[in-house]
C-alpha cells in the first residue's frame, strides 16, 4: 500500500443529524464510548499500510483539529508522508455546493505526491477493513476505478447509491435513489483509482460545472471507465441520520460486532489518547449488556447502554437503552430510557426522561434537565 495516497473527505452533508451535528462534523461525532467516527477511516488507512493521508476539513473544524492534532495517535505524525490537512476552498471564491470544489482546490495534494493510486473515502461509515485486499482486487481486475460496497442486510432510508454488477465484479449499473432494499448492493463511498484518473475526473467535472464527486464525477461518466466493485463482507454502519447513529452504537453491544470492530490484533481502531481511570463500580451497581468507558463511576443500574468517558450514575439511577456522552451526570434516582445525551448533560435527582426505540430523545450539549 506504499503506492497509495489516502484522502478522507470530512465535507459531507449532515442535514439528517441536526441536533448532534449542528456544530461539529458527522465524523467528529463520538461513537461507541470512546471513539469518533473518523477514527475508523484513519485507522483503516494506517492498518492497511497507507502512509500518506490527506484530511479534507469540514466547515466546523475545531473538534476535528483538536481530536487529530498531528495524527500521532494514528501513527501519522511522520517526517516523510504522514498527515496533511486539506482545508476547504475559501468561501467566496466559488459559490457552488458539494464536495467537488474542495477536492479541486486540494488536487495538488494527490498529484504532487509520489504515489500511484488515490484511495478516496467519505468518512461517515463505520467498518474495519484491510484496504490491501481492495488494491489486490483492483489490480487483478485491471479496473480503472474500484468502489467498495456491502450487501444491505435490511432496508435503508435516505439517499443511497446502489450498484449492479456482472459476475466478474464489473459495475453494470450505478444509481442514486431514495432508500434501498435488503439485499441490494450499496456503495460505501470509498474509491480506489490511479492518481491521473482521479485528477482527470475531478478536473474535467469541476471545470464543466460539476458539484459532487460521486454524482457528477463518477455516476454521470460511469460509461467512460471500467468500474469494479469490491464487496466488504464484514459489519458496516452508515451514519447519516440520528436513527442510524443510535442503531450503529447499539450494534456495538453485540459481542461479535465489538470484537470485529475493535479487537482485531492487526487492525486496531486507534483514537485520541486521554488519561482516564478505570471504571469504578460501587456497592449497588448493576450493569448488563453495556459498554462502559473509563472514567465512569457507577452506583446505579445500567442496561443495554453506552457510557462515554467520565459519566457518573448516581445511587438508584437507572439507564436503559441510552447513549450518554462524555461527562454526563445522572444524579441519584434519575431514570433515563431511549435517550442520547450529548456531552456534559446533567439529569437531576429523580428526574425521568424517555424516548422511543426509533426516535431516541436527544438532550443537547451542556443541558441541565
Amino acid at each position: 500500500m506504499k503506492t497509495v495516497v489516502g484522502i478522507i473527505n470530512l465535507q459531507e452533508s449532515n442535514a439528517l443529524l441536526r441536533e448532534l451535528a449542528a456544530t461539529r462534523a458527522v465524523e467528529a461525532l463520538p461513537f461507541a464510548g470512546r471513539y469518533r467516527v473518523v477514527d475508523f477511516s484513519l485507522s483503516n488507512m494506517i492498518n492497511s499500510g497507507v502512509n500518506s493521508v490527506g484530511l479534507m476539513l469540514p466547515d466546523y473544524s475545531r473538534a476535528v483539529l483538536d481530536h487529530i492534532r498531528s495524527g500521532k495517535d494514528w501513527d501519522l505524525a511522520r517526517r516523510r508522508d504522514g498527515l496533511t490537512y486539506l482545508p476547504a476552498a475559501l468561501p467566496g471564491t466559488d459559490s457552488r455546493k458539494g464536495d467537488l470544489k474542495d477536492i479541486y482546490a486540494n488536487l495538488d495534494f494527490a498529484e504532487l505526491s509520489d504515489k500511484k493510486y488515490v484511495l478516496f473515502v467519505n468518512s461517515s461509515f463505520v467498518y474495519n477493513i484491510d484496504f490491501q485486499k481492495v488494491l489486490d482486487f483492483h489490480k487483478a481486475n485491471d479496473a480503472d476505478i474500484t468502489m467498495i460496497y456491502n450487501v444491505l442486510d435490511e432496508d435503508k432510508e435516505g439517499n443511497c447509491v446502489t450498484i449492479e454488477t456482472s459476475t466478474n465484479g464489473v459495475v453494470t449499473d450505478l444509481a442514486e435513489s431514495n432508500g434501498a432494499k435488503k439485499g441490494q448492493k450499496s456503495v460505501m463511498s470509498a474509491y480506489l483509482m490511479p492518481v491521473p484518473t482521479f485528477a482527470y475526473i475531478v478536473r474535467s467535472t469541476y471545470e464543466r460545472g460539476g458539484q459532487d464527486f460521486l454524482l457528477d464525477g463518477i455516476i454521470r461518466h460511469a460509461g467512460e471507465h471500467k468500474i469494479s466493485a469490491y464487496e466488504h463482507k464484514g459489519y458496516v454502519a452508515r451514519i447519516n441520520s440520528t436513527a442510524e447513529y443510535y442503531k450503529a452504537n447499539r450494534d456495538c453491544l453485540k459481542p461479535e460486532v465489538w470484537e470485529e470492530l475493535f479487537m482485531q490484533k492487526d487492525n486496531p481502531i486507534s483514537t485520541k489518547v486521554k488519561d482516564a481511570v478505570p471504571v469504578q463500580y460501587k456497592e449497588a451497581a448493576q450493569v448488563k449488556n453495556s459498554l462502559i468507558a473509563n472514567g465512569c463511576i457507577v452506583h446505579g443500574r445500567v442496561e443495554n447502554s453506552i457510557l462515554f468517558r467520565g459519566v457518573t450514575v448516581g445511587k438508584g439511577a437507572v439507564i436503559k437503552d441510552s447513549i450518554l456522552m462524555q461527562r454526563c451526570e445522572i444524579q441519584d434516582g434519575a431514570r433515563v430510557e431511549n435517550v442520547i445525551a450529548d456531552k456534559n448533560v446533567i439529569i437531576t435527582k429523580n428526574r425521568w426522561i424517555k424516548g422511543s426505540e426509533n426516535f431516541p430523545f436527544i438532550v443537547t450539549k451542556n443541558a441541565r434537565v
Partner: protein, 376 residues
C-alpha cells in the same frame, strides 16, 4: 541543556524478588497496578505534577519492558525538547564497566548526567511506592530549613517501626538527630519513605567520597546518612500524612489494589492530581447480559460475562459465563473461562484459568499465578 532547579532521579533497578511471579519478565517498577497503571506511574506523575520536568530513571534489572513503556515519556508529558525522561542503565567507561552496587552507587555513576542538567537540588525517589505527593512543598521546606538533605518520613504504628529505617527528630524543628535502621527498640515512629532532596554540591561531595570507599555498601540508608549525621550535616525530616504504601510484597501489592475499592478510597486516582499512564487503544469494556460487577474497578478492553466483586480487572481480560472473580487482581489479557472461580488471588498477564478451575487464596496467603501460566 538549560539550568534545572530540581532534578528527579528514580531508582528503578530493583528486581523485586519478593514479587517473584510478577517480575519474571519485568522490573518491579513496571509491575501493573490499579487497573491500568504501572507502579512507576506514581513517582513519575508526582514529578510532573510537582513541576519537575527532568527525570532520570535508573534501570538495571530486566529493563526492556520498562524502557519500552517509558519511551520518550510522552505519556507523562515528559517528551520535552529541553527535559523529559532520561533512561540511565549501567554502562561501560574507558576504565571498565560496573553494575550499580547500591542505591548511592547508582547515583554516583550518573554524576556526569547530574552535572549536565546542572540542578540546584536533586530529588531521589524509589520506583516502588504507591502515593501521591507534591514534592514542591518538600522542596520549599528544604530551602526554608537551609538543609543539606531533607528526608520524607511517614508515621507508622509503633509496633511496625522495627521493620523500617527510623528517623529520630527534634520535634520543634524537624531536624534529624539520629537514624536507626530497623531498630529493635525504636526511639521514634517516623519511618523513612526513601524520598530524599539533596542540595547538589552536598550530594556530590558525599557520593564522591563514598564511591571510592571500599568498605561501603553504597546505600543511602546504610552508609551515607549515618556518615552525614556523624559529620553534623543539616538533615531535616519532612512529614507526609497522605496515603503511602510500599508495594514490595505480594500481600502489600494486593492490599494496595484493594484499598482502591473502598467506598471512599484513601487516595484519589480521579482528582486534579492526575496519575498519567501509557494508554493502549482499547474499546470501552463490555459487560454481558448476565454479567455482574460490584465494588470493583474495570478498565477498557475487558469483557465480562460472569461475576466480579471486590476486584481490579485490567485491559483485555475476558471473564466467561458463570465465572466468579472475588477479592482479586487480574492483569492484562488473562482469560478466566466459563465457570472458573478466582478468589483472593493475583493473576499475572496472559494467564488462562480453564473452565471450571479454581484458584483460591485467602487473606494473608494470596494466590499468585505467574505470567503465561495455564491453570486447570
Amino acid at each position: 541543556m538549560r539550568k534545572t532547579e530540581c532534578l528527579g532521579m528514580i531508582l528503578a533497578g530493583g528486581q523485586g524478588s519478593r514479587l517473584k511471579a510478577l517480575t519474571k519478565t519485568v522490573a518491579k517498577p513496571a509491575v501493573p497496578f490499579g487497573g491500568k497503571y504501572r507502579i512507576i506511574d506514581f513517582p513519575l506523575s508526582n514529578c510532573v505534577n510537582s513541576g519537575i520536568t527532568k527525570v532520570g530513571v535508573l534501570t538495571q534489572y530486566k529493563p526492556f519492558e520498562l524502557h519500552n513503556y517509558l519511551g520518550a515519556g510522552s505519556a507523562w508529558d515528559l517528551d520535552r525538547i529541553d527535559g523529559g525522561v532520561f533512561i540511565l542503565p549501567p554502562y561501560a567507561r574507558e576504565k571498565g564497566a560496573d553494575w550499580y552496587r547500591g542505591t548511592a552507587d547508582a547515583i554516583y555513576q550518573n554524576l556526569n548526567f547530574i552535572d549536565l542538567t546542572d540542578p540546584d537540588y536533586v530529588l531521589i525517589l524509589s520506583g516502588d511506592h504507591i502515593y501521591t505527593m507534591d514534592y514542591s512543598w518538600m522542596l520549599e521546606a528544604h530551602k526554608q530549613n537551609n538543609a543539606d538533605i531533607t528526608i520524607g518520613v511517614f508515621e507508622v504504628p509503633w509496633e511496625e517501626a522495627p521493620r523500617f529505617g527510623i528517623m529520630v527528630t527534634d520535634k520543634e524543628t524537624g531536624r534529624i538527630t539520629e537514624f536507626q535502621e530497623k531498630p529493635k527498640d525504636p526511639k521514634s515512629n517516623l519511618a523513612s519513605m526513601g524520598i530524599y532532596i539533596f542540595s547538589k554540591p552536598f550530594l556530590k561531595k558525599y557520593l564522591e567520597e563514598d564511591g571510592v570507599n571500599e568498605n561501603s555498601t553504597h546505600d543511602f540508608g546504610n552508609d551515607l546518612i549515618p556518615k552525614m549525621l556523624a559529620d553534623g550535616a543539616r538533615l531535616f525530616s519532612y512529614a507526609f500524612d497522605g496515603y503511602w504504601k510500599d508495594v514490595g510484597t505480594i500481600e502489600s501489592l494486593w492490599q494496595a489494589n484493594m484499598d482502591l475499592l473502598q467506598e471512599n478510597p484513601p487516595f484519589e486516582l480521579n482528582g486534579d492530581w492526575k496519575i498519567y499512564s501509557s494508554n493502549p487503544s482499547m474499546p470501552p469494556h463490555y459487560i454481558g447480559p448476565d454479567g455482574e460487577v460490584k465494588k470493583s474497578m474495570v478498565t477498557e478492553g475487558a469483557q465480562i460475562f460472569g461475576t466480579v466483586e471486590q476486584s481490579v480487572i485490567f485491559s483485555g481480560v475476558k471473564i466467561g459465563k458463570g465465572a466468579k472473580v472475588t477479592n482479586s487482581v487480574v492483569l492484562p489479557f488473562t482469560k478466566i473461562e466459563d465457570g472458573a472461580v478466582v478468589d483472593h488471588a493475583i493473576l499475572a498477564q496472559d494467564v488462562v484459568i480453564k473452565a471450571g478451575a479454581k484458584v483460591e487464596g485467602k487473606e494473608g496467603e494470596i494466590a499468585v499465578i505467574a505470567e503465561g501460566d495455564v491453570v486447570g
